[in-house]
């Protein structure tokens, strides 16, 4: 079936490093993707999105890259901070208002 998955369940980085979280998707017809951050005990929080007519989109300290050829999505966090520690989900917009979430990657930032 169609799915959105993540390559690494846990990513550990040092404060100040750049973090890269990867995501694979299987539905080549998907045209909208979102990255969410979820802190413990809270609901998902929107970070950044990208549409399929783009390869790259930048926000504040975050960049999302989309490679439609290999159906791969990545989230890059520059100068990672302890406050960035959370679980990160990529989500694929599927059909009419249906977001399909991946399993998630836990980002651990050590000082």
């Amino acid at each position: 079936g169609e799915s959105v998955g993540l390559h690494l369940p846990t990513l550990s980085v040092q404060e100040g490093d750049n973090s890269i979280i990867n995501c694979a998707y299987s539905n080549s017809a998907s045209d909208y993707f979102i990255w969410y951050k979820q802190e413990s005990g809270k609901g998902p929080q929107f970070i950044i999105d990208i549409r399929s007519n783009m390869d790259k989109r930048q926000g504040q300290r975050v960049t999302v890259l989309l490679n439609k050829t290999v159906k791969h999505l990545s989230l890059q966090i520059a100068a990672t901070q302890p406050g960035d520690s959370a679980v990160y989900f990529c989500a694929e917009f599927k059909g009419f208002q249906k977001l399909v979430f991946g399993t998630g990657t836990r980002l651990l930032v050590s000082p």
């Binding site: 959105v4 609901g43 929107f46 989900f89 977001l99 399909v100 979430f101 991946g102 399993t103």
Partner: protein, 112 residues
């Protein structure tokens, strides 16, 4: 605006009991959603609504029911609670298609 609010925050149910999870948004959003999140997993869509009086099934609707009598409220009903429904439930809403979804704080449900 309070955004998306959910009640209760936590609930323990016995097998076979019923309950309603409440979700309210004060942003006049047309679209509302219910998701469940199992430990270590992503969110799965249970039901969604595109406006008052209109609801539709998501990926995992079995065991749940919803109604949307007003724009603001989108309650989720569990009629016969089962251990498999132990999860964290999130409600979300958006104004328009492909806009950012606003998530509520979640309801943690434990069925014993």
């Amino acid at each position: 605006n309070a955004g998306v609010t959910q009640t209760p925050k936590f609930r323990i149910l016995k097998i076979g009991q019923s309950m309603t999870l409440q979700c309210t948004q004060d942003m006049n959003h047309n679209y509302m959603y219910w998701y469940r999140q199992d430990p270590g997993m992503g969110l799965k869509l249970i039901y969604y609504s595109v406006g008052a009086g209109i609801t539709d099934k998501g990926e995992v609707p079995n065991g749940y029911n919803v109604s949307r009598s007003t724009t603001e409220d989108f309650p989720l009903r569990l009629e016969l609670a089962a251990p498999s429904q132990t999860s964290v439930y999130f409600c979300a809403s958006i104004w328009d298609l492909k806009e950012t979804q606003y998530f509520g704080p979640g309801t943690r449900l434990l069925v014993l």
